[in-house]
């Protein structure tokens, strides 16, 4: 009925040569590979459940969304180059997702950075690019949910690009099968408490990363869910009871009331504008946390905003803003 083999070669011809393994994440293996032209790429081999009903809805949606986002070629988002079908069995479809290859993540970048660390201008530039990428995702109704230095990439020219977003649900099938521990350090309190969450979770992660740019080590290093919350409250103080989310299993009263500590104790180099932004990012109550768009307009970035007006070289895409302001939303995303 369907002559599917006639075009088979065209699809199955896998034009990539694997060079080495980059990493084994919670989501499967990532390879460094080379395409026909000799260009290096990062290739993620993923397995998707195949059922009698075809591919799971979530997998189709997320891959298609990634594909659509690519139309905008946002400067702070890693390029998604290709999707290749390799083979399939009755229960499983194997796809290779091909991304642009960037050999350095923010964790490595910070490790390599010589003492006394990054200068204030470099920190501000990185933060601006980070928030710009996050704002773009949020404008397209995508919540990253797992922002951390390991999936923030830094090119040779110092350009920052976000990776690994939008795929949590594609990988969902495999997640249950792996026992890889996912880091808690950048996780927003509402996620740890298993309350409902939306775009603000990414801004919390941005706050944690912001602090890390100054001190070159994570701000909150919890060993477990409870320990992570305790570490957060140790610095920020126990939140007010009315800010505690409803319908969560951990009651507010199970934590010792502690007062907030001045952030300068932990981050001595921080200037006042930066500290104000950090405090707005590390708001316990997600409704009171600053949005990516507002963060970009914060006075901390005043120079950045001024230079944007004079030169158009900076990484901001105004071209699509007219198109998609209507879809911008902070409403919970059902993912």
């Amino acid at each position: 009925m369907l002559a599917m083999t006639s075009r088979k070669e065209r699809f199955d011809n896998n034009n990539y040569e694997v060079i080495s393994v980059i990493g084994n994440g919670a989501y499967g293996t990532v390879y460094k590979a080379r395409d026909k032209e000799g260009q290096l790429v990062a290739m993620k081999k993923i397995r998707i459940q195949n059922t009698e009903e075809g591919m799971p809805m979530s997998a189709i949606r997320e891959i298609a969304l990634l594909k659509q986002l690519e139309n905008y070629e946002h400067p702070n988002i890693v390029r998604f180059l290709d999707v290749k079908h390799t083979n399939q069995t009755a229960n499983e479809i194997r796809l290779n997702l091909v991304f642009e290859f960037i050999d350095q993540d923010l964790a490595a970048y910070l490790e390599r950075c010589p003492s006394p660390g990054l200068g204030p201008d470099r920190i501000r530039d990185l933060m601006y690019q980070l928030l710009n990428g996050v704002d773009f995702l949020h404008a397209h109704r995508i919540v990253h949910r797992d922002l951390k230095p390991q999936n923030i990439l830094i090119t040779r020219n110092g350009q920052l690009k976000l990776a690994d977003f939008g795929l949590a649900r594609v990988y969902g099938f495999q997640m249950a099968l792996t026992s890889v521990v996912v880091t808690l350090w950048y996780r927003a309190p509402e996620v740890i408490l298993q309350a409902s969450y939306a775009t603000p979770v990414d801004l919390w992660s941005c706050g944690c990363i912001f602090a890390e740019l100054f001190i070159r080590r994570p701000l909150f290093c919890g060993q477990s869910d409870i320990d992570q919350l305790a570490k957060i409250f140790e610095i920020l103080g126990l939140p007010m009871e009315h800010d505690w989310p409803e319908n969560v299993t951990l009651p507010w009263s199970s934590f010792k009331p502690v007062p907030p500590q001045p952030l300068q104790h932990y981050i001595p180099e921080i200037e006042s504008d930066a500290q104000d932004l950090l405090e707005k990012l590390l708001q316990f109550n997600p409704h009171k946390r600053i949005s990516a768009r507002n963060a970009l307009n914060h006075s901390y970035f005043r120079d950045e905003i001024d230079s944007l007006r004079t030169s158009s070289s900076m990484s901001v895409s105004e071209s699509d803003s007219g198109l998609d302001t209507s879809s911008r939303s902070d409403t919970p995303v059902s993912k």
Binding site: S6, G54, H85
Partner: protein, 230 residues
């Protein structure tokens, strides 16, 4: 595209609408199914693939993409029934299972053929947005008197019989649909004569009257095609 090919595609798109409505798919998933169909046959020919199989598959994919999921069982039954009106409904048997498996396999095939490019920015949301403006601008009695929203929504749905959706920006299609709606009801935008900027420029800065007329012209051709296809 030959006349004959155009007629076949016209009938298949009508089939997508009929089956889609029976499956209770909403406007946007229906539009997505049509656009996936058009894109597929931009690359492949009717001699290579059965258009009704591809059409049934696009309905199934569109349901998933737009989170308006329908079961594969319903797609098989409804599409079969829509296609074979005079025959008795499909029995649970070899034929049913074969069709089900075929669509499940065809799903991955279409996704691969289109490189997973199945999420679209449709004119619907723009049209809705523009209509709320028109409503504000018009005298309330005038707005109540004319079925502008209903007409434009119907025109938009019909526009998917053509490949307009692949050729023009969604904002431009929405403006042209609105233009045609106003023309066909003989309705004017208040103070349009004295306005500095024509109303359509307010909605889409980069649109010209030429583009609007091109789109409207193509839409009218589609209705001519209907006459010869039925």
């Amino acid at each position: 595209m030959t006349d004959n090919t155009a007629k076949v595609h016209f009938r298949v798109i009508r089939f997508i609408h009929e089956a889609g409505l029976r499956l209770r798919l909403k406007s946007v998933p229906l539009a997505t199914a049509c656009i996936i169909y058009h894109r597929f046959f931009k690359e492949y020919t009717l001699q290579q693939y059965d258009p009704y199989l591809i059409a049934s598959t696009t309905l199934y994919i569109a349901g998933k993409v737009e989170e308006n999921q329908v079961t594969l069982r319903d797609v098989v039954n409804v599409c079969y029934r829509t296609l074979h009106r005079s025959k008795p409904p499909l029995e649970m048997g070899d034929m049913f299972f074969a069709l089900k498996e075929t669509i499940a396999k065809c799903e991955l095939f279409v996704l691969r053929a289109l490189q997973f490019r199945v999420v679209y920015n449709h004119p619907h949301r723009y049209l809705l947005h523009y209509l709320t403006f028109i409503k504000e601008w018009m005298e309330p009695y005038k707005w109540d008197e004319l079925p502008l929203a209903r007409t434009s929504w119907a025109l938009l749905r019909d526009s998917y019989h053509s490949t307009l959706c692949l050729q023009y920006k969604p904002q431009h299609i929405a403006v042209a649909i609105l233009y045609m709606t106003l023309e066909s009801h003989g309705a004017d935008i208040p103070f349009e004569d004295t306005a500095v900027t024509p109303w359509w420029k307010v909605f889409a800065e980069d649109i010209t009257l030429d583009i609007i007329k091109q789109i409207v012209g193509e839409l009218i051709n589609t209705y001519d095609l209907e006459m010869i296809s039925s």
